[in-house]
Amino acid sequence: MSSLADGTETVNAESPAASPRPEPGVVRPYHFPSFQTRILPNGLRVVVAPVHAHPVVTVLAVVEAGATRDPLGKHGLAVLTGRALAEGTTTMSALELAERVETLGTVLDTGADWDSSIVQLTALRERAGDAFAVLAEVLRRPSFPAQEMQRLAEERLSDLTQIRADSRGLADVALNRLLYAATSRFARLAGGDERSIPTITRDDVVRFHAEHFVPEATALLVVGDCSVDEAVQMATQHLGDWTGTAQPVPDPDASPRFADSRVHLVAKPDAQQSELRLGHVAVPRAHPDYFPLVVMNAILGGLFSSRLNLNLREKHGFTYGAHSTFDWRRAASPFELSSAVQTDKCADAVREALHEVRRMREEKVSDEELSLAVSYLDGVFPIRFETTAAIASGLANVEIFRLPSNYFDSYRQRVRDVSADDVLRAARTHLDPARLQIVVVGPPDVLHPSLVALGVGPVTVHAPGDELGADG
């Protein structure tokens, strides 16, 4: 086999005999960390999971203040407010706050997504009390300095400039725009765009914070080397006299934009590869078919050995990877397939991806596929919660999506209960190839004829700066 073999035949030339593939040992028990929930008189929920393995504590405040609460035309207000929380309080300027937090050895993480805002930090145990005090001040008494607000708005515009120069950013923005009805909040970027950001004033931010950052709308998760009593004591001391009443939670419009499949080609003539997205609006996170859908997605495009990845990557070499996912939200959430493919193979990749989606609906998955997905999701469960931050994030999902308090205790059994019939039913009910919107970002001269020839729907060509018909 090799010219190098001369003189090396004794080395590795005879492969040592192999032992047979071992069977697993006895499963050792795992329980998601137990936690207790206390509700302070002002309505603040304090959820504490004592985990003493390492001398660290994570504190995560989750507030009902997501981007779905942005007023009309002020897209990006929640995200901007979330970022601005770290820009100073009534007692500290932005840099004094950073200095205080960082000399405690921690990092203040603030922000917002569709459904909530967060303020989070992880500190060594001996500094946890001091860190908690800072977090409480940030939550209650941000000062939103005018100068920092202006800088954050400029930085958002700068980020948008970068997103629009990047194929991945363009593909994500286009899919975002095209899945939901043009009037839906979800059709616009969570962080706001060039038109909405300049309309947001400091007063808007101050008002948004005053209305939504209230104890009744906040859950405080404390995970790590800290007892329930210690956590409740800290919460009472720093947040016990916080006041305010929660606003009703909105029910955002999540209707889809198109009833049929369409191909949206975003022209980027200099692209070296084509970014591909396929998606449609699916179901809310709290849907009863959640577990069948998670197993279905693992088989279709969630695992390395998924149908999509084995087909597009390992069989055809079109791409470095192909995946599918549900971008879970409280409202009807997007189902998305994504890949970056060789431009001359892009139409082939679309055809193969559509084939895999259809196949999920046409026939039951095999026993091997089902058992792979189920045993992966079941077995990997403890690995998902090794750190205090990961546990806090899991508990935050329970709060945001209003999951039952025994959610993590029953998770593995509910995964194991999913059958091939459940997967087929979930795919037939919730996947619809005839509604998939197809977004491709790449060189139009190669892509346009091949996507037209594919015949999966009308092909529209857009310039990267196009608003894609979204409503102002």
Binding site: P24, L95, Q272, P382
Partner: protein, 435 residues
């Protein structure tokens, strides 16, 4: 915080590191081979990384892609990565699946070649080319991580060439290259095997002996060419890269002593003072006060051979010219080089480093990877536990001395990305040596 460390060598040279921790029923298996792109020969750039892909294509008792399937079916996560001077492979699994992970790693260490075929190589070559397009060619600034080492190390140096490789060299890779590379570098005496997490040490030792013991020692890896370079460029280097990006971005790199030296720890603290988090100098000055940068950071490459690199990485705000950005970053470097740092700045940097250290070691996979790293580079995995103390000994004097010596103007290599739509003035050119 101390993590338990026990290490020993098998007769075939494999260095085994065990770190027991029964907090959760999880075990991490982590294998470092002391080979990376630096070991590639001329005309075969990208080979170490392509080879990493081939290690997931099966071995004598494992089918193509079955490695992934077996581990995921066991409820585990896995991957591999290639770097300039090492390649690692790692799995994290429920602890009752330790034997499976060891068996899989041993099968490909001992019996890879029977499974290698031309069609597998051809497919993975296409996959890697698409990885290159995705991570380098089709991403704004994506070429920086091959252009910066190329600028900072001379052409004959093993760190000079591209890690992911050129399309032509990927085309040239043959099955024969696979066999040669495997026999030379993928041997027990060129590897460190770390197991971290929930396992009984006796059982782990028995399994390691059963699966890895019979694999013969290699014939000794070829010596690397001399990697030593002066800790200075001896003159400012500069390259301007017109790129399909929206905003100018500048990287300024300085050569410095390698990972593990006293100067390295001073440099690491210096990088945090300049460019880690909101309280850093770059953030205060470039992002907030001067308002010319949209993001700014500073880091070390963490190279353990030849010379390490100290890197500043700053992206402009819209309407800020590349020249202005470049001048401002050099001015910050001048400032620290001439006037040093304060004790308070050092304190902030060390506090951040310490918390990061403890929080990251909550993960069994991270513990295993750090143990393998210190075992591979220094032959002593227990050095992990000395890291917080090494950082705590760093003083403002040490950091100022580092900056004074290594951040001088003629030890700076500037890589300047300029949007193609708005090219810089007359000085857009290839590499130029100003000294």
């Amino acid at each position: 915080m101390q993590i338990p460390v026990e290490s020993y060598r098998l007769p075939n040279g494999l260095l085994v590191v065990l770190s027991e921790d029964h907090t959760a029923p999880i075990v991490a298996v982590n294998l470092w081979y002391h080979v990376g792109s630096a070991n590639e020969r001329t005309g075969r750039t990208g080979f170490a990384h392509l080879f990493e892909h081939m290690l997931f294509q099966g071995s004598a008792n494992v089918g193509a892609n079955e490695h992934f399937e077996f581990v995921q079916r066991a409820g585990g996560t896995l991957n591999g990565s290639t770097w300039l001077d090492r390649t690692n492979y790692y799995e994290t699994l429920p602890s009752n699946q330790l034997a499976l992970a060891l068996w899989l790693e041993a099968d490909r260490m001992g019996r890879l070649l029977p499974a290698m075929t031309q069609p597998k190589l051809d497919t993975q070559r296409d996959v890697v080319k698409n990885e290159r397009r995705w991570s380098v060619d089709n991403q704004p600034y994506g070429t920086w991580w091959e252009k910066l080492p190329a600028l900072c190390f001379p052409p004959e140096h093993p760190f000079h060439h591209s890690l992911i490789g050129s399309m032509d060299d990927l085309d040239a890779a043959s099955l024969e290259d696979i066999a040669e590379f495997f026999r030379t570098y993928y041997t027990p005496d060129n590897a460190v095997l770390t197991i971290a997490g929930d396992f009984p040490a006796g059982e782990a030792r028995r399994l390691v002996e059963e699966y890895f013991g019979p694999i013969p020692r290699g014939r000794g890896r070829p010596a690397l060419p001399d990697m030593s370079v002066p800790f200075s460029f001896g003159g400012a280097l500069r390259e301007v890269v017109p790129d399909a990006c929206a905003l100018p971005r500048v990287f300024v790199a300085s050569r410095m002593p390698v990972l593990g030296t006293d100067a390295y720890y001073a440099a690491s603290v210096c990088s945090a003072i300049l460019g880690l988090r909101t309280g850093s100098r770059f953030e205060r000055s470039l992002v907030r006060q001067q308002r010319i940068a949209s993001s700014a950071s500073c880091f070390t490459f963490d190279l353990a051979k030849g010379a390490d690199l100290f890197v500043a990485d700053v992206t402009a705000l819209p309407d800020v010219s590349a020249q202005r950005l470049e001048a401002a970053v050099h001015a910050e470097l001048d400032l620290v080089q001439q006037h040093g740092v304060t004790a308070h700045e050092v304190q902030r940097a060390i506090a951040l480093t310490e918390t990061h250290f403890v929080t990251s070691l909550q993960s069994a996979s991270e513990r295993a990877d750090q143990l393998s790293r210190f075992a591979t580079y220094f032959g002593d995995p227990s050095l992990v536990n000395e890291q917080p103390a090494r950082y705590r000994t760093v003083t403002a004097e040490h950091v100022s001395a580092f900056a004074r010596e290594f951040l001088v103007a003629d030890n700076r290599a500037t890589l300047l990305y300029v949007p193609i739509e708005q090219p810089a003035d007359a000085d857009v050119s290839d590499v130029e040596v100003a000294a």
